[in-house]
């Protein structure tokens, strides 16, 4: 029997992803879930989950180590990957925004200093508008940058907007919406067509059922 390997993004999306998968009828023992194991199998043995950092999900899937993966669209926009994206999942909804201090006036005519964890998305966004930017790549607490004067604005992912608000920042512009997506390896898609087809269909059905329950 074919076992499908699914790469799951750790962190923000992990709980919602597991919830969705159990909603599909996959069973995971509570021991496995509470352990620190990075790879677990479902009760039927048809699926193996591997837990990796969000940015690594496309890497595992592209190499075919995982047949498919669940990861935020923000991650996909930031990496250059060649993957199939058959389904948008309505979990992990957020927005990718430009934010600045509440009273800040952004001077787009000169050079904008932009702090971000998403340099490619930021470069593409300002590039399309002809705005010159100095991209400052940070790996966390990006909200601090405008407050301390490291940058004029930030490009970041916002779920509720609470962190921005608490730090005296406001959304200047929404770049795009983001939600989790199912990504699939191109070779697996052909070679494991049956198993993946079933998985995708059952995922779709679960999403539809949940949407009508809401």
């Amino acid at each position: 029997m074919t076992q499908l390997t699914i790469a799951v993004a750790k962190g923000r999306l992990q709980a919602e992803t597991l919830d969705l998968l159990t909603g599909m009828g996959l069973v995971f023992s509570s021991e496995a879930l509470s352990s620190r194991q990075l790879a677990i199998e479902d009760g039927s043995g048809s699926y193996r989950l591997i837990f990796v950092k969000p940015a690594d999900v496309p890497v595992y899937v592209e190499y075919g180590i995982a047949d498919c993966g669940i990861v935020g669209r923000d991650v996909l926009l930031e990496s250059s990957t060649d993957l199939l994206q058959p389904l948008s999942l309505n979990i992990g909804a957020c927005r990718i925004v430009v934010a600045a201090k509440i009273d800040a006036q952004l001077n787009r005519l000169g050079m904008l200093r932009v702090a971000t964890k998403y340099p490619r998305i930021a470069a593409r966004h300002f590039g399309a508008r002809g705005v010159a930017v100095d991209l400052i790549e940070l790996s966390g607490s990006v909200e601090l940058a405008p407050i301390l004067g490291l940058a004029d604005c930030i490009v970041d992912v916002v779920a509720t907007g609470k962190t921005l608000e608490e730090n005296g920042l406001r959304i200047v512009e929404v770049i795009t919406d983001s939600a989790a997506r199912l990504v699939v390896n191109r070779a697996s898609y052909q070679l494991e067509a049956e198993a993946l087809g079933q998985f995708i269909k059952s995922l779709e059905d679960t999403l539809r059922r949940r949407a009508s329950d809401d």
Partner: protein, 376 residues
């Protein structure tokens, strides 16, 4: 001499020992298969004008090449692709040679920027064949039959999928919807990534296509003949229908040769639409995370070198094939060279023609398909 001199540039590597031996024997056995189908080997320049590749492959792909300038200031490139070079030779050097031309090559290609995570190599070796000057389903079937023989010889035929499509299916739909270039590209991307939900929303903006839901589902699945009959019901424009006819006739031949388990129809394969003009195919084998080969019909390419003529060809990635076979426990017995006279094959239908061809090839006979008399 430690330090910088020990460092290997990203994406470059050595081969040695069993790996080098395996590479060589795969190469030899593939070249012998090509010889068995009457393909002549051709060696092309490693460095050529960047403009040639830009013209031949399209800008977005040629852009990945290593580029540098000649003494007169013109832009050169390390070849990122062999087909452009072969097509130019067909239109110039081989202009007077009788058609069809059958050419094959083994050659490293280079790219400066990898296109994705999995394509980390900046030098990779392609083994390819081009059949130039024949526009018939027999010519398309010939290259597919060679691919099948290659997979059989490498013992990869039981766990493979050769996906077939025809770019005119998509082009017909785009034309029917009267899409502007940007919208066409947007649709291409949605189809390519199998993003059915967004494709459905996209199609709904153009009310002229009914059944956008069913159509969006169609590109999400690959399958056998059933895909073609489903597609026929949903896609009414004549351009797409013609493409579906071509696929159907290929599929009938494939079925009667009992090769259907190796093939799938995949209407969602729409990469390189501007390059290919008819049949396209991709080759996947178990154990490789990405495709190990691809090909198709490119009737538009040679025109840009001054002589318009139909052509079909394919490449196999030697490095990817080696990786898969290295992981296997048993070393395959590969080389069996062809000998004796070349048998000229002709028949009134595709199935008989290629059944005969495959039989002779299992006996390692050298054959040549007579395409001028073959069924169209």
């Amino acid at each position: 001499m430690s330090g910088p001199l020990s460092k290997i540039p990203t994406g470059m590597r050595y081969y040695s020992g069993p790996e080098a031996r395996l590479r060589r024997s795969i190469e030899d056995s593939l070249v012998s298969i090509f010889a068995g189908w009457s393909y002549e080997e051709i060696t092309t320049p490693t460095i050529d004008y960047y403009a040639l590749f830009e013209h031949g492959m399209g800008r977005s792909l040629a852009h990945h090449a290593f580029r540098f300038t000649d003494t007169d200031g013109s832009m050169l490139a390390l070849r990122p692709d062999v087909t452009s070079l072969v097509a130019r030779a067909a239109a110039t050097l081989f202009a007077e040679v009788k058609r069809p031309l059958r050419l094959c090559y083994v050659a490293p290609v280079f790219r400066q920027q990898p296109q994705s995570h999995a394509e980390w190599r900046r030098e990779s070796t392609q083994i390819g064949g081009e059949l130039i000057g024949a526009n018939s389903s027999a010519a398309d079937m010939e290259v597919l039959a060679i691919v099948c023989e290659v997979l059989e010889r490498l013992d990869l035929d039981r766990h493979c999928s050769i996906t077939l499509n025809d770019v005119e299916v998509f082009n017909g739909i785009a034309e029917q919807l009267n899409l502007r270039p940007q919208a066409r590209n947007e649709m291409r991307e949605l189809v390519d990534t199998r993003n059915a939900a967004d494709l459905e929303r996209f199609l709904a903006r153009y009310s002229s296509l009914e059944d956008s839901h069913s159509f969006a589902q169609l590109i999400q699945l690959s399958g056998k003949r059933n895909i073609l009959s489903d597609a026929r019901r949903l896609i009414a424009n004549p351009r797409s229908q013609l493409a579906l006819d071509r696929l159907e006739s290929l599929w009938s031949a494939i079925e009667s040769l009992q090769l259907a388990d190796r093939f799938d129809i995949d209407l969602g394969d729409v990469s390189r639409l501007d390059y290919y003009t008819g049949l396209t195919f991709k080759i996947y084998v178990k154990g490789a995370g990405a495709r190990v080969g691809s090909g198709g019909r490119y009737d538009g390419l040679t025109a840009s070198f001054g002589r318009a003529e139909p052509a079909v060809g394919f490449v196999l990635e030697l490095d990817a094939l080696t990786d898969v076979l290295l992981d296997r426990a048993s070393e395959p017995t590969l080389v069996a060279s062809s000998s004796g006279e070349t048998a000229q094959l002709r028949a009134s239908n595709l199935s008989d023609l290629f059944r005969d061809a495959r039989e002779k090839r299992t006996k390692a006979e050298r054959i040549m398909i007579n395409l001028s008399e073959a069924v169209q």
